[in-house]
């Protein structure tokens, strides 16, 4: 039984979902991506190592802090995954609660899968840094072996902490699902945190690109502080010292006992929680005060718009994906465009600007359009979100084209508002010109509509997984339009270059949008009727 449960967990892993050639391609592409990622890690770490090598004793402390940070990030990243694994499926709860399984069986079956994923994460991050660290320092080969075993223990520790944190996380999620306003506030706070973190990382990256010195960062007091805290970052510090010195006496407790102790405590506490979870009743109502029935009369269009907003804000995936991206978009676009402008304005890359003066225009426009694509392609979720309720859409006495337009309008309006804020930020800080601003409003609006039509169309054709049209309109089309605009202004270089550049892009975008609309109007009924959503 346990073996079958473990197997089931592995079968739900994305790598194992596909079959035949698709599985081979999936595995090979994952390996290639992982190899690329590892190479990048080695390169970055070697660069950093060499850069900070000038500061005495900093490399050891930096290594410990780095592994500790990765461990913390890994745990934080794995708490939602653990929550999803244990508590996300109501049908699984129903099935498991009727099977002769103990809560430890459930933890074991899911825990093995989680442990494997976490171990892969550790081996592809912390171990790679460890091996690079050992190689640069010409450490003994025993370091590589012992550090590998340390990764096994570290994974136990991380899983144990994730088991402990998943309980408050699950309760918190339940609370958020009850109070949408609270979840919205939390989401904004989280986004702000992410955007600020992103800007800091981007700034650090720009400093590296501009070849700035790290003296400001590594002052004497900072180095002292780093060396001080590195000693106390258990169990990473003891694991590192043990791998290096094999000194059992001092580091045994930190390296072995702490991970296993935390894992045991985590498992025991999660077991108690899971026991309660799988035995609780399925329908739990909150006893709200009963109001006398009032009917909010509205027209057909408003009713459909309200429904779309409901779908767009639909809890877990809605608030934490599409809407959050929409909110983050202006800040992200501003950060990236201003950073790119800064890179080309100062430092080593300044000469590019003298060779190709229009590079600003090309890069800024392309970046803005690509950001728009990434954010808006997610809005195509709206048809997929209908799932079996698509049958309701099909039976409503409202034309399919009208329903399609309303489905199109809600994400398009939301995206446009977000896009406009981004542009206002850029023009206010003089990152783009006024002509650029006004032309980009028109280009962006038509692009948003085209993107949303394409993704809805692809959704209706049921080809979401093989969506060449979406990839084309989202990524290839902006490159082509901006490319055509750029090539044109290379040949027509006068005071109207900027206007010509944008006019060409706008013309192509509008032509494409109109052709999409005409095409969809013709085919909408057939597309709706053919689209099954689910097998009813």
């Amino acid at each position: 039984m346990i073996g079958q449960l473990i197997l089931k967990e592995f079968q739900t892993n994305s790598l194992f979902k596909t079959h035949g050639i698709k599985r081979v391609i999936s595995i090979i592409s994952s390996i290639v991506l992982l190899a690329f990622f590892i190479c990048l890690e080695i390169l970055i770490y070697s660069l950093i190592y060499n850069k900070i090598n000038v500061y005495a004793d900093l490399n050891d402390s930096f290594f410990i802090v780095l592994i500790f940070a990765i461990t913390i990030l890994g745990i934080l990243g794995y708490v939602p995954i653990t929550q999803k694994t244990f508590f996300n499926s109501e049908s699984e709860r129903l099935i498991y609660s009727t099977l002769p399984l103990t809560s430890y069986d459930i933890i074991l079956s899911k825990g093995v899968n989680l442990y494997t994923k976490l171990l892969i994460f550790n081996l592809s991050t912390s171990y790679v840094f460890g091996a690079t660290y050992a190689y640069i320092r010409s450490s003994n080969f025993t370091f590589y072996i012992i550090f590998f075993f340390m990764m096994l223990l570290l994974t136990f520790l991380m899983e144990g902490v994730a088991f402990l944190l998943v309980i408050p996380f699950n309760e918190f999620k339940k609370l958020l699902s009850k109070y949408k306003i609270l979840s919205f506030i939390i989401m904004i706070a989280l986004l702000l945190f992410l955007v600020i973190s992103y800007s800091l990382i981007l700034n650090a990256f720009i400093n590296l690109v501009r070849d700035a010195s790290l003296d400001n960062l590594f002052t004497a007091s900072n180095i002292e502080f780093l060396n001080y805290i590195a000693k106390y970052l258990l169990p990473i510090s003891s694991m590192t010292y043990f791998s290096r010195t094999l000194d059992m006496s001092v580091n045994f407790l930190g390296s072995f006992l702490i991970p296993l102790f935390i894992f045991s405590i985590g498992t025991i506490i999660l077991n108690l929680y899971i026991k309660k979870y799988f035995n609780s009743s399925l329908a739990q109502f909150n006893n709200k005060k009963v109001k006398s029935l009032t009917y909010k009369f509205t027209n057909e269009t408003n009713a459909l718009i309200r429904k779309e907003i409901h779908l767009a804000l639909n809890k877990n995936d809605g608030i934490f994906s599409y809407i959050s991206l929409i909110i983050a978009e202006p800040f992200l676009v501003f950060s990236v465009v201003s950073s790119v402008n800064l890179i080309f304005n100062t430092g080593n890359l300044n000469y590019v600007l003298t060779l190709f003066p229009s590079i600003y225009l090309t890069l800024d426009t392309l970046l803005i359009l690509l950001f728009l694509s990434i954010i808006n392609l997610n809005s195509s979720m709206s048809i997929a979100k209908e799932k079996n309720t698509l049958l309701i859409m099909k039976t409503l006495p409202v034309s399919y084209f009208k329903q399609f337009l309303i489905k199109l309008s809600v994400p398009s309006i939301l995206s446009f508002i977000s896009y406009l804020i981004g542009l206002i930020l850029l023009v206010s800080f003089k990152e783009i010109s006024v002509i650029n601003f006004f032309m980009m409003i028109l280009i962006g609006a038509s692009s948003i509509i085209s993107l949303n039509i394409s993704s809805l169309y692809t959704d209706l054709r049921g080809k979401k997984e093989n969506n060449f049209l979406v990839t084309f309109i989202g990524f290839i089309f902006p490159i082509i339009t901006v490319g055509v605009g750029t090539v044109t202004i290379v040949f027509i270089d006068n005071e109207f270059s900027e206007l010509i550049f944008f006019s060409i892009i706008l013309l192509i975008q509008i032509l494409y949008m109109v052709s999409l609309l005409i095409n969809i109007k013709k085919r909408i009924s057939k597309l709706f009727l053919r689209f099954e959503g689910v097998n009813l």
Partner: protein
């Protein structure tokens, strides 16, 4: 016979899923004010026939007239006079019950007075509590969702009421109440088309019954004219399905 109005008239309906044909030359005539039963085993084409009637599925050939309107030519007009309750309760689960009913009523342009009148009657008849409507639909039990879908299908006073396996998930009392509503509905002049594999229920309440097997209509029995057939439908059904 001439004064009997046809509310659902299906002529030579053929429907395939890819290369597999699932409906073969279906002919049906459902009259105004009758309770029409449609029985067959699972997977023989009941739901597909219904979805063709509703205009939510394409079909290769044939004609479906609803109140003399062609479903292919005037789908909006047809849909506005139909109320449909699917075999599995389907509704927007993130909405509250009341929000879903408001949504449906707004689409069908119901006046607030009519809405309240219908809702109060249906809540009482189906034993659904008013406070349940203020809870998210996802927290409902299967039976409660089924009741909500039944209410949504009737809230706009449709002229034709189509029910696909309406008793699945309902308790005995609710099933009893539902049959009563169906009878009252046709008494008031509505036309009810009910597909089910609950032969006994269909035989008990319907005026006429069609049996479908392997995508073909086997026969249509007039139980109003020949009440003795009510007790024989089960046997006929079993005999038909035992034939190879």
């Amino acid at each position: 016979m001439d004064n009997i109005k046809s509310m659902i008239k299906i002529t030579s309906l053929n429907k395939s899923y890819g290369k597999k044909q699932v409906l073969f030359d279906i002919n049906l005539d459902v009259h105004e004010g009758e309770l029409f039963g449609f029985i067959g085993k699972n997977g023989v084409g009941k739901s597909t026939t219904i979805e063709c009637i509703l205009g939510s599925k394409l079909f290769e050939s044939g004609e479906i007239l609803i109140n003399d309107l062609d479903i292919k030519k005037e789908p909006i007009k047809v849909k506005s006079i139909i109320g449909y309750s699917p075999s599995e309760p389907i509704c927007y689960e993130d909405m509250k019950g009341v929000e879903y009913l408001e949504f449906i009523s707004s689409i069908y342009h119901i006046s607030p007075q009519k809405f309240m009148q219908n809702l109060n009657f249906l809540l009482k008849a189906l034993d659904l509590k008013e406070e349940d409507l203020y809870k998210e639909i996802r927290s409902y039990s299967h039976g409660m969702k089924q009741k909500l879908c039944l209410i949504a299908s009737l809230i706009h006073n449709p002229r034709i009421w189509i029910l696909d396996e309406p008793t699945v998930g309902l308790d005995a009392m609710s099933t009893f109440e539902l049959t009563k509503i169906m009878k009252d509905y046709v008494k008031l002049g509505g036309t009810c088309f009910v597909a089910s594999h609950n032969i006994d229920l269909i035989a008990k309440i319907c005026d006429r019954v069609a049996i479908i097997k392997d995508g073909k209509i086997f026969n249509v029995f007039d139980l109003k004219k020949e009440p003795s057939l009510r007790n024989k439908i089960s046997a006929i059904f079993i005999k038909l399905y035992n034939e190879k």
